[in-house]
């Protein structure tokens, strides 16, 4: 009986280890899914302002540098 119980515990541990291993190999650690909705930005000030005037919509203006301490790829 004790041998069976010990075997059961070993099997459970093995299953936990296998599950963890599966998670580590299938979940990308360096990638994220994109959110479903995004703000639709106009990247060109002149065209954006012209559109606002044309459609009588107020302007949500944001500016940022696409580099940090000279390194690109980050706002």
């Amino acid at each position: 009986m004790s041998t069976l119980a010990s075997l059961e515990i070993t099997m459970k541990r093995l299953l936990v280890c296998l599950s963890l291993l599966l998670m580590m190999t299938t979940v990308p650690v360096s990638a994220e899914e994109n959110p479903t909705k995004r703000i639709a930005w106009h990247g060109n000030l002149e065209k954006g302002l012209a559109l606002a005037k044309q459609t009588n919509r107020p302007v949500f203006l944001v500016s940022g540098s696409p580099s940090c301490l000279g390194v690109p790829g980050l706002w």
Binding site: K37, A40, G43, N44, V59, S65, P72
Partner: protein
């Protein structure tokens, strides 16, 4: 830029009644003059890296005071969304639809487009044609589908007729089309995901873009580590206009240590 602040559903919904313009601060001299008026005003000083304000539709009146970012003005995105709704209610503007908003929101050039795409964790779409007529025709096609709620804001766009603008993207630049590109972590290089044919139908174009948007996974970045890696590998960005002296990096200022 605080991504979490600007990514709440109610805030994004409220922005649809605005024309949302996000410029790259030190990348255009003419834009910088306007940004100085909008963000610096009469207070003096130089243009800061980040700025935010709300303007009237003619772009001449500030409806809210300018700050370094919306999170400096509002306690949370819910408060900001409520204020945006209040502002837009005063105007009879038309919301984004394919008929009222036909323009593709282009970045100034491909180089900037790929970098901004990397910053946002989005794919870049580059319209590449043999001449301006072909580029205009492809942009016309794009404009008919990209303002759909499923696709709005999901790509960063740029156009070119010059294949050398695409030298940082292996496999691109030999055939015309709508190129979907995955930017690298630094937004300096790109990987060609797909080329959509110039002859594509509107339905097929929408489907292809939707597939690309849904399949795309952005690269996770840790701010400090990213900057350190960039500086160690010499992966640096040259802005179009000089960054004012007070924005310079601490490492540069440390070159002249204070006397003790």
């Amino acid at each position: 830029m605080d991504r979490s602040f600007l990514s709440s559903d109610q805030l994004i919904k409220a922005t649809r009644d605005f024309v949302c313009i996000r410029t790259a601060t030190y990348e255009d001299k003419q834009e910088a003059t306007f940004l100085e008026w909008a963000f610096v005003g009469n207070t003096g000083g130089s243009l800061r890296i980040f700025g935010y304000c709300i303007l009237s539709p003619d772009g001449k009146t500030k409806l809210r005071r300018s700050t370094r970012g919306p999170n400096f003005l509002y306690a949370n995105s819910g408060a900001m969304a409520a204020d945006l709704r209040q502002i837009s209610a005063q105007y009879s503007g038309r919301a984004i639809t394919t008929t009222s908003n036909p323009a593709v929101p282009q970045m100034k050039n491909v180089r900037l487009g790929i970098n901004v795409a990397s910053c946002d964790g989005l794919p870049s779409v580059v319209v590449f044609g043999k001449d301006q007529t072909e580029v205009d025709s492809l942009n016309q096609k794009l404009s008919g589908v990209i303002w759909d709620e499923q696709l709005a804001g999901k790509f960063i766009y740029a156009s070119t007729t010059n294949s050398s603008d695409l030298k940082s993207v292996p496999g691109a630049g030999s055939q015309s089309g709508i190129l979907v590109i995955k930017p690298d972590a630094f937004g300096i290089k790109g990987q060609l995901i797909t080329i959509i044919s110039p002859e594509v139908s509107a339905e097929r174009l929408q489907e292809s873009l939707l597939n690309a948007a849904n399949a795309f996974t952005r690269i996770s970045k840790t701010h400090g580590l990213h900057v350190r890696n960039g500086r160690q590998t010499g992966t640096l960005w040259k802005t179009e206009i000089p960054i004012p002296a007070r924005q310079r990096t601490p490492s540069r200022t440390r070159q002249n240590p204070r006397p003790r």
